[in-house]
Point group: C2
Chain length 378, copies 2
């Protein structure tokens, strides 16, 4: 990655149209990269056109919420062993004030530096000690453990941590650093989210670019616009304004504080996890709202707009039926059922962070635009 390139979530967007949290994260990344020392300096070099922006998706990457990835950040590399393609994700920073929600204070930058100097190299060494970590096996087990692998990641994170720590201990990493890494993994119940997303990205990229295939290969949002990609329609994004999320807010916050929907994390729904697999994770309703029966209803509803179920990713409470996979553009429009996404909610101002979580539907307009393009290409 070039040092002046900043990746972000969702379809393409330039500075003038970026939402508050994305601007906050971009400013944070420029300070973290030492390209700027203050928010004003960061804005100056941006308005000077010294910084390039690109969607994560265009470089085979995904990032949650603002999805900001800059050149010094460590990333995971995930390989699709069947198809040969690869994907990337950044590393999860934990909860609270974090860059992905648009926060950029000193603690945020210090944590990013620690991730670059300690966490990234430690995990890299541990993964090299292993024979590779099979992310699909972790995801499959976690569906039997109450995760839907988007907003509940405690099972995946715990399984990953159990797998990685013996490998960490086989490296030459110093003991004090191992303590820090193991404490970080013990405290962050969402650490695996970024790996879940990269695993979904590497699966869906293998589905992209197939002639006459109307499967949706990406659902993503930059906080200003929601965008979708369709297998047969190439790299074009079909976009419309990002919707507001219905959800549960942290104390002191409400819908008036909420940024519109943001993040690449809806790649999990694109692959049949997250909102599509909520039947596997009834406990999630205490985080995103609703009752456990809603969770089951969402999964069953998504079976109406998908091509198949994935028999290797099963949901025990549905009699071990597979997750719904392969959102078909035509089925969405025919059934009038929009893909369901569960998601975090960012404050609309930069520098604040997460204020809640909830449920949102992919907006109809994106699918209509894709259909128009499809009809023109026949």
């Amino acid at each position: 990655m070039k040092t002046n390139l900043i990746l972000h979530a969702g379809p393409p967007v330039l500075w003038d149209h970026m939402c508050g949290p994305l601007r906050g994260a971009v400013i944070g990344a420029l300070i973290y990269e030492e390209l700027a020392s203050t928010p004003q300096e960061a804005e100056d070099i941006i308005t000077n056109d010294d910084i390039q922006f690109a969607p994560c998706h265009e470089l085979g990457a995904v990032g949650p919420m603002t999805g900001v990835i800059s050149s010094s950040m460590p990333t995971f590399l995930v390989k699709n062993e069947t198809n040969g393609n690869i994907s990337y994700s950044n590393l999860n920073e934990g909860l609270g004030k974090v860059l992905r929600f648009g926060a950029f204070n000193e603690d945020v930058i210090r944590n990013l530096k620690w991730m670059e100097k300690v966490l990234g190299p430690s995990l890299s060494a541990a993964i090299r000690q292993s024979e590779g970590i099979d992310l699909n096996i972790i995801l499959q087990k976690a569906l039997h453990m109450g995760d839907e692998c988007h907003n509940r990641n405690v099972a995946t994170t715990s399984l990953f941590t159990r797998l990685i720590l013996p490998n960490l201990l086989r490296t030459n990493i110093e003991r004090t650093e191992l303590q820090e890494v193991s404490a970080f993994l013990a405290e962050n119940d969402h650490f695996f989210l970024n790996l879940s997303m990269a695993a979904c990205k590497v699966t869906m990229d293998a589905t992209h670019g197939i002639d006459n295939c109307t499967v949706v290969t990406a659902l993503s949002r930059n906080g200003t616009e929601f965008g979708i990609r369709v297998s047969t329609l190439g790299d074009e994004w079909f976009t419309c304004p990002a919707p507001i999320i219905e959800g549960l807010y942290f104390p002191g916050y409400g819908a008036k504080d909420a940024n519109p929907d943001i993040g690449d994390s809806s790649i999990t729904e694109t692959r049949g996890l997250g909102g599509f697999a909520m039947a596997a994770a009834p406990a999630i309703v205490s985080f995103v709202g609703g009752i456990p029966a809603d969770a089951i209803a969402y999964t069953k509803e998504m079976m109406e707009i998908t091509e198949s179920t994935d028999s290797s990713f099963t949901i025990p409470s549905l009699g071990f039926e597979g997750i719904p996979v392969g959102i078909n553009l035509l089925k969405v429009l025919d059934a009038g059922i929009l893909p369901i996404i569960n998601t975090g909610i960012a404050h609309r101002e930069p520098g604040i962070g997460q204020i809640g979580a909830g449920i949102v539907r992919a907006p109809l307009e994106c699918f209509k635009k894709a259909l128009v393009k499809l009809s023109q290409s026949i």
Copy 2:
């Protein structure tokens, strides 16, 4: 513990009446303790009356399957912070040929020695580094992660491992030993079972010995007899022959190979986990038999014979209703509904090990005997 004392699961039983796997585990414990060097030597010192036997339960302890605990084995100590009482359990050996299923070959003894020299001291040092590990919080979280905390322990074990490893790294334990311990915890999805049992024991012991309280405070089996204890009826066991388990057998084995029901692990059902909490763990049916709807039905059925539900141990798929707790002797007899237990199945011969898992009901006769005693004591 005196060096010539051997604890075992279930109600009291002497050598002549011990089942095959319990005899195997006793022989293994005597070889492990270096009180005998061959199975024949072990039998000789037993028939010489040089060895004393007692139920784990009588010393505040619990052990899965044969439940054999000897004086050199490391144990967990669990404290009931509300009531002040304590309980103990041995450490889980993993699957395959293990003492608790009656195996006693060289590998079994070597593993027990490693647990004594490495695993026990390491975990002890780690727990001393921590402020104590809150077992109830782990159990509560695991009920939202597909464990019922008796035969599914992957969530509890993963959560425990994530918690303990940062503490392990803060000890002076050598790195090679930490590697061994972390690899052992990574490979054994049932490690937490013994802690789950000790947590249930320390809760149920606080319920024991209350005047006019007809709550069942222990369900347990020694492989020959099934026994129950009732709060108001003191330390007497009400026993009858242990039943045969309906279950799924490993390839090459069947019901003709099965030992009758064995183990203290039904203390989990006594406290509302295990079979009583199966609605939280629909994936368990692939291990013990049945379909996910059965799992929900078992939990609802157990609500008919219990005093209450525990609102701090909730089951998401039942709308966050609590687990059924406080098996009431009178309700069992009045409703004619017997407590459901899910359990491992041991081979009836010593030295072989686990051959399956399944479902069993506590036998009616124990409850009838307790009622007779109750009627005499009024």
